[in-house]
Symmetry: C2
Subunit: 320 residues, 2 copies
């Protein structure tokens, strides 16, 4: 049982000092490494690790081909301003090869996990000489993994898997007692700009979690375009999280008077405090119409757009 620190009870400066000390004491004069996705969790971990270890923390951004438009450039540029050098590793081919023909959500996550840890990050870690891996696991990830709802890709220890034996390194998880609202507080205290710590959550398997059934470069491109529209139009809502999901089901449509057996995008926009429960945001019908019209006009192959109206539970925030 991991003792939770609620956002209300959290003293950010004290928390940061404790974690910095813990990391220093554990890593000693060694080298640590971490993978930065640009999300609030991994960004916060990068800042804590950098404060503890300086340049002895090597931070990499793995370009897996399933990120949003311009994501690597944005993340690298932002951390450069904060004095943190981030190395970009292009691993698109390896990820798409692993995802080929995989439809089951759990197998998809597994393919991404295995590619990430064993093939790509494992290799980078071995080459770096680091023995310590910093990870942004939070308490909600642990809860959902233990409950068997989803297998998060970053909670080996909670699943009883020994990462030292399995992958040759040790995982440090400084945020594991926090939930999302706590992490935001810590990120703010670490001087991360608003665009990071206020950033909406984004799943570990990235856009692969936004594609029902098989993930291909073409289908990722479709959901990437829709995601750009959804994030642009819903940024001002103050919602907890919003997303576009590409369905596998085909629906009848018509273009220029001809039948088109097309694709459907589902938009989800959530109100939530900590992701444990969530309700769909009551967006205005004007905004919903704008969303649908822009997606239809700009994303090739899309003839239908829906908006999620079911709460979590029994739904989950992500569909895959």
């Amino acid at each position: 049982m991991i003792p939770e620190i609620t956002a209300q009870n959290l003293n950010s400066d004290q928390f940061i000092n404790e974690k910095v000390t813990e990391i220093k004491d554990t890593v000693e004069s060694g080298i640590a490494i971490n993978a930065l996705s640009g999300g609030v969790d991994s960004s916060t971990v990068t800042m804590i690790g950098h404060r503890a270890l300086g340049s002895r923390l090597k931070t990499v951004f793995i370009e897996n081909g399933i990120m949003r438009t311009g994501e690597s450039e944005q993340v690298v540029g932002l951390f450069q301003k904060l004095g943190v050098t981030v190395e970009v590793v292009d691993a698109k081919k390896e990820f798409f090869a692993a995802l080929k023909g995989v439809s089951d959500p759990e197998e998809k996550r597994e393919a991404i996990t295995q590619t990430f840890y064993k093939n790509v990050f494992g290799r980078i870690v071995k080459e770096s000489g680091a023995k310590f891996l910093l990870q942004g696991t939070i308490l909600t990830d642990v809860d959902e993994t233990v409950a068997g709802i989803k297998r998060q890709h970053n909670v080996f220890e909670q699943l009883g898997i020994d990462p030292q034996e399995a992958f040759g390194y040790r995982i440090l998880e400084p945020l594991i007692q926090l939930r999302k609202d706590g992490v935001r507080k810590v990120g703010k205290a670490l001087g991360l700009p608003a665009e990071v710590f206020e950033r909406i959550p984004f799943p570990g398997p990235a856009l692969a979690a936004r594609v029902i059934a098989e993930v291909t470069p073409e289908r990722i491109q479709t959901v990437r375009q829709a995601t750009g529209i959804v994030e642009r139009l819903l940024k001002g809502t103050g919602a907890f999280q919003y997303m576009a999901i590409l369905h596998e089901d085909r629906v009848t449509g018509m273009r220029e008077g001809k039948r088109e057996f097309g694709q459907q995008i589902e938009v989800r926009c959530w109100d939530s405090v900590d992701a444990r429960t969530a309700t769909p945001t009551g967006l205005s019908f004007e905004l919903l119409t704008k969303l649908a019209n822009e997606i239809i006009a700009e994303v090739p192959g899309i003839v239908s757009v829906t908006y999620n109206i079911a709460p979590k539970p029994p739904s989950t925030i992500e569909a895959v």
Copy 2:
């Protein structure tokens, strides 16, 4: 080119008299037959045909297993009050056998068409001795069939198929110059009660058009339950049409703390005058939430509910 009679230009009484005369002159002393689904088109045709031929029009209701809850009882009871005897024919097994393993929407329609005409209705017609079949085809069906958007099951002649040669009887289509709003006007003039002529359109392939991919008795039961909730909650909206669609895609959900890889219902509710173009009805978020919550609570296996926000075109009213 069929000359359209717009609802505005339509003189209902004159129209009815002309059609009654035409049917009398064509059928002479023969027997005619028609299949009543309970929709506004086939109900109106039944009344015109009955006025022209009396008991020489035999009206059957084919229980195909893909109708809504209580539909046959409702339709038979209603026409009994209007002095029209309707015979119910149970053909559930034949329809489900024809639909087994069929996923493609066009093949599904084809299976239903073939089962309806060749296997079931063709047999009934032959046994009845009727040489004339009355059908409720309207102009919108013809447009969509000619454009190749959908193959309606009742427009053989427009497709260049000779029904006399193919099935041994002749089809009379008294409503073919009208669109939906015109048919409603005629139905009202014929004395049909509000519950019929104001009834929302329902597709020929019935609930099979509301199931993406394979149609099974179990999947029909799921979409039937959802349809009951949608029709009950949206009846008061004055919308043109509303429906529940069962998706084939599975989405992640959770019940009692456990992961459930569940099913999704899409709700569509349309504003339209004549079905040629349509826009989603701007339902209140309160009503959308109520819809989602009732569907989730009452329909086994459903963990997610969406609401369509795309217009026709490029969407179509039905998904299948």
